[in-house]
């Protein structure tokens, strides 16, 4: 009964999204405030009803109601409660419902917090949001109904894919979707401004918080997914240039470009058409990601089921929205009033530089991801484009943006003085060279590329610190004054410094793990000791254990350094009983920011077990850097300007429009 109510709520939400798609935009065209006023309550009600549907599905999963086909196929009565809960989106239908829920959530947020926007803009934004919601709700209702029943109801479910039975499933998809779907707001803003044919600096200020929110969540979602893959798949890798990873990385790249171009638009009233284009591109790439992951054209842990009608439907949604948006863009963009131009050496020049390389790097990833699909569709030839392609193309294209990054915040708007900035950064450069020399000495020369990588990371990190130091006039005025300046500094300045510092931290982690990772694969018998990175791992023996819905063989290793015991690590091999599917559970021990990583393979004929030992120097920095970036985004989001500045602008714009 509850499932039927959920289904009904979903149908109602679809009907509401249709109303939200049509009435507000009609009102804005006719200048009818009553029709425009429909948008906000419709968006709120749509959120409510999708929320009810989601709650109904959650209830079915938590209660293990196997009369629902979805619950039967993806859950099991012995699953721990947390996994029953996360099973809701550990499947195709449920994950699409989560997508729709988050979409409706963002629509409701715009309705609730958009009161300082001009009424027509708000109505149009919510209408565009309504189109997207209508398309996806129709998709769910017609091809992926999560509430389908089976009769007779089975006694037991088929269990969730064991790889997904992890706390990562509770965190990664919601974060990633908040990012993906969050960019729909930027898209809706772009489409609305194109429909109105009017765009100004205030637009950038309204859209910026939404872009920031989406970017923060996408950053965290990608980082979390990467860490999950790292510890769950047992290969010790954290990024595979897998098409599914690329699908989430591309909107991140253009989203980062959008963040920066929106600043130029807000401050200098320039780059307007480009910013609109980026907003459309970013959400288009989010949709493309959804298509790649959900349509079954790619096979990965993310593609749950491949039903061809679903792929075609998502492709239609993709074509309609991307095609429609670009048609609208081509039609309206020439009529938008162009902003001013500027000198190449200036803050805005640096931001354009950033945009240029971020989008070029994104294009390289896009081609590497789509080329195999296109080739197979046209010639039937099957190829794989792997890490070497991306290292060769993405690396050189992102490098200039990283090198120039510390210059940006030092340059003045309008006309920067590159020599003055170079003088200020000379100290930083000195410190960077010192860092590189110390690293080279400590690592006995090390690979040259790795030393340069360390230098690059240091350049970005010290550059970010120097930015703050120069703003608070550290060492040039008394310390008390500096402290007062630090407190008075706009949050967005701190945000920039943190985010840029975070990029440096991530690069540092990537360089150290790639260059100095140690790997030791061997067969070990009880009592044997293997060494890795100066640590000794002694195989103590293995034992069988039983979990709630699996059996496992856990191998115990004593970890010691110079004879001093540090603890016991127990990697295991599990077999999930319902599906009879084996998985490996790696054991990880963090030592500072570095990690020892142990995974076991099969038992060997001669007795003993295959063991994979890794030493991963500073690997945690890869993800910590992302957290620092996201924290920077959060600081920027809390900037006073975004909370206080907008209403005054809004009133002026409305007045000007009348």
């Amino acid at each position: 009964m509850i499932a039927e109510l959920g289904h009904y709520a979903l149908v109602l939400a679809f009907a509401l999204s249709l109303i939200q798609s049509v009435l507000p935009i009609w009102g804005s065209q006719r200048g009818d405030p009553r029709l425009m006023a429909v948008a906000s309550p419709a968006a709120a009600a749509q959120f409510l009803f999708v929320g009810l549907a989601f709650a109904a599905l959650t209830q079915a999963f938590v209660q293990s109601d196997f009369s629902l086909e979805l619950v039967w196929a993806n859950s099991h009565s012995t699953q721990p409660l947390i996994y029953k809960f996360t099973s809701v989106w550990g499947n195709h239908e449920g994950s699409m419902l989560l997508w729709a829920l988050i979409l409706a959530f963002f629509g409701a947020l715009v309705a609730a917090f958009g009161h300082n926007m001009p009424a027509t803009l708000k109505a149009n934004v919510l209408a565009v949001q309504g189109w997207i919601a209508a398309a996806f709700l129709l998709f769910i209702l017609t091809t992926s109904n999560p509430f389908a029943r089976i009769f007779p109801a089975p006694m037991e479910g088929q269990d969730l894919n064991p790889i997904l039975q992890d706390i990562g499933l509770a965190v990664h998809p919601p974060l990633l979707y908040l990012g993906y779907v969050g960019f729909s707001i930027a898209f809706a803003f772009a489409a609305a401004s194109l429909i109105e044919g009017r765009i100004d600096a205030a637009w950038a200020r309204w859209v910026r918080p939404w872009v920031l929110i989406a970017w923060i969540f996408l950053t965290l979602g990608i980082a979390m997914g990467s860490y999950w893959a790292y510890y769950e798949l047992g290969w010790g890798g954290w990024w595979f240039w897998d098409p599914v990873e690329n699908a989430s990385f591309m909107p991140w790249l253009t989203g980062s470009a959008l963040l920066h171009s929106a600043i130029v638009m807000e401050k200098r009233d320039a780059l307007k058409v480009w910013t609109i284009l980026l907003a459309i591109l970013t959400f288009s790439l989010s949709l493309l990601g959804t298509f790649l992951v959900r349509s079954g054209v790619l096979t990965s842990v993310h593609s749950f089921a491949s039903d061809p009608t679903r792929g075609v439907f998502i492709l239609l949604i993709l074509a309609t929205f991307i095609g429609g948006a670009f048609a609208l863009f081509a039609w309206r963009a020439p009529s938008l009033r162009r902003g001013g131009l500027f000198a190449p050496i200036s803050r805005e020049g640096a931001l354009v530089f950033n945009n240029l390389f971020l989008t070029a790097a994104c294009a390289a990833v896009l081609i590497g991801t789509l080329y195999p699909l296109a080739l197979e569709a046209t010639t039937g030839e099957k190829i794989s484009v792997g890490a070497p392609f991306f290292n060769m193309t993405f690396g050189p294209l992102i490098l200039p943006a990283l090198i120039v990054m510390p210059f940006g915040p030092f340059l003045a708007w309008k006309r920067g003085d590159i020599l003055a900035v170079a003088q200020r950064l000379a100290v930083v450069l000195g410190l960077v060279i010192l860092t590189a020399l110390i690293t080279a000495w400590a690592m006995d020369g090390g690979p040259l590329l790795a030393i340069l990588g360390i230098a690059l990371a240091a350049w970005m990190m010290i550059g970010a610190i120097a930015d703050i130091a120069s703003r608070i006039k550290l060492f040039r005025v008394p310390a008390g004054n500096s402290l007062r300046r630090a407190v008075g500094l706009p949050r967005s300045a701190w945000g920039t410094a943190f985010a840029h510092f975070g990029v440096g931290v991530t690069v540092l982690g990537i360089v150290t793990t790639s260059a100095w990772q140690l790997e030791n694969i061997r067969v070990m018998k009880e009592g044997e000791t293997a060494t890795i990175g100066g640590y000794e791992a002694t195989f103590l023996g293995s034992e069988g254990r039983a979990g709630p819905n699996y059996r496992e063989i856990a191998a115990r290793f004593r970890i010691a350094r110079d004879g001093r015991e540090l603890g016991v690590m127990t990697p295991s091999k599990r077999v999930y009983t319902a599906r009879g599917m084996p998985t490996s559970e790696a054991a990880i021990r963090s030592i500072g920011f570095s990690q020892i990583y142990l995974a076991i393979g099969d038992e060997m004929n001669a007795g003993g077990v295959a063991v994979r030992l890794y030493w991963k120097p500073l690997v945690l920095l890869v993800w910590l850097g992302c957290v620092v970036m996201a924290f920077g985004g959060l600081l920027s989001l809390s900037d006073r300007r975004l909370r206080v500045g907008a209403p005054t602008r809004a009133r002026r714009t409305v007045a000007a429009a009348e």
């Binding site: 894919n161 190449p344 294009a363 484009v385 294209l397 061997r522 599906r579 599917m581 099969d602 295959a610």
Partner: protein, 147 residues
């Protein structure tokens, strides 16, 4: 600089970056991609040694031999032709005889395939798409295998 010159210089710089990007991508696409082949493809059109390829098929029943240390040998088959494979390392969890597999590496002398990567499947119902397609071509595909 005049307004026009500025605009042109901006477009020029963008053009150079785009040209570099296109050049890099084209170069990498000719050099860094790996072709997928079935045992029959290799039998009919031998690939030169030292060229990386992906080989896909079924792990032939009864051919998995664990040798010294962590080296494993097995045979990949599409039922029409077989290719012997050696691999050193830990096999993925779902590697089983009679199941689909994709290995990446190079053909060594004597027709043995030296794999450096054995690709894992993500769940027990899943067959790598390339393998499924090439088995369908050989006419040995059974739908029941994938439920």
């Amino acid at each position: 600089m005049t307004r026009k010159q500025r605009r042109l210089s901006l477009i020029g710089i963008a053009g150079v970056v785009v040209a570099c990007a296109v050049g890099l991508i084209l170069y990498a696409l000719t050099d860094q991609i790996v072709f997928f082949q079935s045992p029959t493809d290799i039998a009919e059109h031998p690939v030169p040694p030292q060229q990386r390829i992906r080989l896909g098929g079924l792990v032939k029943e009864g051919t998995v031999v664990r040798g010294q240390g962590t080296t494993v040998t097995f045979t990949v088959t599409d039922t029409a032709n077989d290719v012997p494979v050696t691999f050193t390392g830990i096999l993925p969890d779902l590697f089983r005889e009679g199941q689909g597999v994709v290995v990446e590496g190079m053909l060594a002398a004597g027709g043995t395939f030296a794999a450096d990567t054995v690709l894992a499947k993500h769940d027990e119902n899943y067959m790598p798409k390339e393998v499924a397609d090439s088995l369908k071509k050989q006419g040995v595909w059974r739908d029941t295998e994938t439920n």
